[in-house]
């Protein structure tokens, strides 16, 4: 299949305006004749559902949470980028575009990223109008801060709870449409399949997580906004329920999966403390504005710290290695996430890691506390410091934080064209669940921007183009395709319940996570990836013969839910490994040890790998087919990323 990205003709800066004029419109009186399903109610889904309902479409929105206010967008801490240039520091739409393409190590589509930068300014206006309480200066205007990978202050924030405030904004807009009857909200409903009629997405199958009832829902188009798949690693900063199931079922029904191996390992997370650990907690990247990252200069000293013989605060200035400041004087502690993570790993690999496991580096606030006082620091980061202390029982005002990289975000996802449509007509993907605009590495404060851009300002235009070409006659759930998809879902549930094996879904999930982290995590090799593939295939067989789920499908059954998600993670894991093995280069978060510069930086191969790898499902246990979308860069020059 030839992939058509549908990028509009014309100069970069005019593409979106022109496209908006060229797309077909649905007559206002006809909009109420169209039903749109939105799956997921985080930033992308909540914003899309509300905005589409405001336009007059009938929206059916679905979430597996008990309320649309709980999606994991809520946990985003640091902020949201926008090219407002309120700080007069030289920001512009083009600079945000440029930084994002460069930060993504030149593996994103220029046209999409430029559009993202353009609509970023509208997002801030929209959120302020909704009553989102962004941080402000004493003069009453909006405040900004700088974030990793950028040299301008373009990040808008609400203390360390920006995601919460933005999500509650989208939730309020969604709630208003629910009250108007324009959105029918289905909570505690998990999407388990897409229904396709004559090659077009026409509905979904869901399971009611309270009653267990399997339901079918029809529409003229389906929008997925189901988030990322970082939990394939078992331990990540994602919420416990985050999963790939909706996207994976869509993939198996024909939607290509793009760049699955592009995962972001965030540098500043609280290190693992024990085997029982269920998730990892992020400490916002904004902390790197004021915190200094270091390890002891020598292995001997690091060993003494690990044994508890000396405390970090007793180590003399001369005996500390502020490795990011040393290696990257221009950006210092503010280098992009992939660079910061990899360097932390290098220090630990050298034997200079701290904490009793040796898998941690210090993030030290003593200098800023000395310079501005503990109160000022608390104003900025109080909630983060409190959270750190709750989890570790250590006071970061008195001793440096210990941090280590953890899986945080997935740049890969369902392949979409410029209209955010997948390879299945009528099926759209927005927010983190598409392969998105971040290339091989996402810059801080860009996820919130992308989710809201897709939901508020892109999908409302582009979906109209499709609907305008679709007859407005009702789609009926009596069509045999619905019964077939429903039967498939029920059969799978029965299968999971009938294995009656000996190991829990979590047992399998932990093993999978370990394989992924060791061989498809921060550093990858061809040899390791091949080993991982064999291990995952073995694990898949074991899962389907030995998983244990008790109870029935006709009740609230959280182990059953988990089993279904783990089964999909196992299949996704194998595809991630295939993708990482195929990409014989290093770029952004994808670091193949065979491909690095003499200084240990990622070494791209633009000649052979400046493409999006879009994988096509070929059937159970068949190798997937690779389709390539070549990336062309007309407005930025491809260079070795340098943050020195």
């Amino acid at each position: 299949m030839q992939l058509d990205s549908k990028i509009p003709e014309g100069p970069l800066a005019e593409k979106w305006e022109k496209h908006k004029f060229n797309v077909k419109l649905v007559n206002p009186a006809n909009k109420r004749k169209y039903d749109v399903i939105v799956v997921g109610t985080g930033l992308a889904g909540g914003a899309a559902a509300a905005s589409l309902a405001e336009l007059g479409y009938n929206v059916k929105a679905f979430t597996y949470h008990d309320s649309p206010r709980r999606a994991h967008s809520i946990a985003a801490q640091g902020g949201i980028n926008a090219a407002k240039n309120y700080q007069n520091d030289g920001d512009s739409v083009f600079r945000l575009f440029y930084d994002t393409v460069k930060g993504g190590d030149y593996r994103a589509r220029e046209a999409n990223v430029y559009r993202l930068a353009q609509v970023s300014v509208n997002i801030i206006d929209q959120c302020v109008a909704q009553g989102v309480p962004f941080a402000r200066e004493y003069g009453g205007l909006l405040a900004n801060r700088s974030f990793g990978g950028a040299q301008v202050s373009r990040t808008f924030y609400a203390r360390g709870q920006t995601g919460q405030q933005l999500l509650l904004g989208a939730y309020s807009a969604l709630s208003r449409q629910i009250a108007y009857g324009k959105v029918k909200m289905y909570t505690r409903s998990e999407m388990l399949d897409v229904v396709i009629i004559d090659g077009q997405a026409r509905g979904i199958v869901t399971r009611n997580l309270v009653t267990g009832e399997v339901e079918t829902h029809s529409a003229h188009a389906v929008v997925l906004a189901t988030g990322g798949y970082g939990n394939v690693f078992y331990l990540s900063t994602n919420a416990m329920y985050c999963n790939v199931t909706a996207a994976w079922r869509a993939h198996k029904k024909g939607a290509f999966f793009a760049n699955p191996c592009f995962t972001q390992i965030h540098p500043t997370c609280i290190p693992v403390s024990g085997d029982y650990q269920s998730k990892l907690t992020l400490m916002s990247e904004s902390l790197r504005n004021d915190g200094r990252v270091w390890v002891p200069k020598t292995v001997e000293m690091a060993e003494r710290v690990r044994k508890g013989e000396i405390k970090p605060q007793d180590i003399a200035e001369d005996d500390r290695d502020y490795f990011l400041e040393r290696k990257y004087p221009a950006f210092g502690n503010l280098v992009p996430r992939d660079v910061a993570s990899r360097n932390a790993k290098m220090m630990c690999d050298e034997g200079r890691g701290v904490g009793s496991t040796g898998l941690a580096v210090y993030l030290d606030f003593s200098e800023i506390i000395k310079r501005t006082g503990a109160d000022a620091v608390s104003q900025k980061y109080g909630n983060l410091f409190a959270m750190y202390e709750k989890i570790t029982d250590e006071d970061p005002y008195k001793q440096p934080m210990r941090i280590y990289p953890a899986v945080h975000y997935t740049m890969g996802g369902l392949w979409v064209d410029y209209n955010l449509q997948t390879t299945v007509p009528g099926l759209y993907a927005t927010g983190e669940c598409n392969f998105s605009d971040h290339g091989a590495n996402r810059l801080g404060a860009s996820a919130l921007m992308q989710g809201l851009a897709d939901g508020y300002f892109v999908i409302p235009y582009t979906i109209g183009d499709y609907l305008a070409q679709t007859p407005p006659k009702p789609v009926n759930v009596d069509h045999p395709a619905f019964a077939e998809a429903k039967a498939g879902v029920q059969a799978r549930t029965e299968q999971l319940l009938n294995i009656k094996g000996n190991r829990t879904p979590d047992d399998f999930h932990k093993i999978l996570g370990h394989i992924m982290w060791e061989y498809c995590g921060m550093a990858r090799t061809a040899e390791g990836l091949k080993y991982a593939k064999a291990e995952i295939q073995k694990l898949k067989k074991e899962f389907w013969s030995d998983v244990k789920v008790v109870g029935s499908g006709e009740e609230m059954n959280q182990a059953l839910e988990k089993a279904g998600r783990v089964a999909d993670f196992i299949e996704l894991g194998e595809l991630m490994v295939d993708d990482a093995l195929n990409r014989n280069e290093s770029c952004g978060g994808h670091f193949r040890e065979e491909y690095q510069t003499p200084e240990g930086e990622a070494l791209r191969d633009d000649e052979n790998y400046a493409y999006v790898a879009a994988w096509e499902y070929q059937g159970e246990n068949q190798p997937e087919k690779l389709n390539k979308e070549e990336l062309t860069f007309e407005n930025v020059k491809l260079t070795q990323r340098s943050y020195k």
Binding site: H72, L168, A239, Y241, P271, S278, N502
Partner: protein
Amino acid sequence: MAGSNPNAKPMNLTLKVWRQPNRQAQGKIVDYQVKDISPDMSFLEMLDVLNEDLLRGGQDPVAFDHDCREGICGSCDLFINGRSHGPEKGTTTCQLHMRKFSDGDTITIEPWRASSFPVNKDLSVDRSAFDRIIQAGGYVSVNTGGAPDGNEIPIPKEISDRAFEAATCIGCGACVAACKNASAMLFVSAKVSQLALLPQGQVERKTRVENMVAQMDKEGFGACTNIGSCAAECPVGISLENIAILNREFLAAKASSNNLA
């Protein structure tokens, strides 16, 4: 174990857990033993251990709501030893750590108890009443597009900060569970205050408070008798002052209502 207290010893605990197969069924307290619990575990990780044990033994695991485990999504909602989210002040259940308990302790775990929050199963309750209250008016009626520039209306930092404080409510329902009347006043007041303080919320200020309070009453939440346990147990520190604002807003609205119907 990085960062853990090397002197901290694993604990053995007795759990008394509310089990209820579904909304219609009769519930009861069931006793369980958990062993070798690390003090560095979170409370929910301790329940994970229990559930893995139950599942391996062929028994139905305990259903409970949770998701982010970072104290922000508002999903987790356990009533631990008679207190919303347990003994630690300003902490959600997911951020409560076992170091706050001692070896040999007996811990009672119940769902939120309020008729407006019916039980789904075991410790999971239905909090959709909160959503319906927000749907009654907890928003500014602006459509996407056409918003003025974000800096068009300056907002004094003090006002903006106060609005933010109110806006941090995570909608967990601890306030209702802590209240002997099962009142939702703290939850409702947080949203009413946030929007009443901001210029964007002025246009619908009166109808909003009237409609939200009406919905709150309709959902069957109890009245406020100024005890203050809601604010004392709120994991994110929503202040009682918001209830005073709510009462004032409600009175002012009723005295000069925009509701013409």
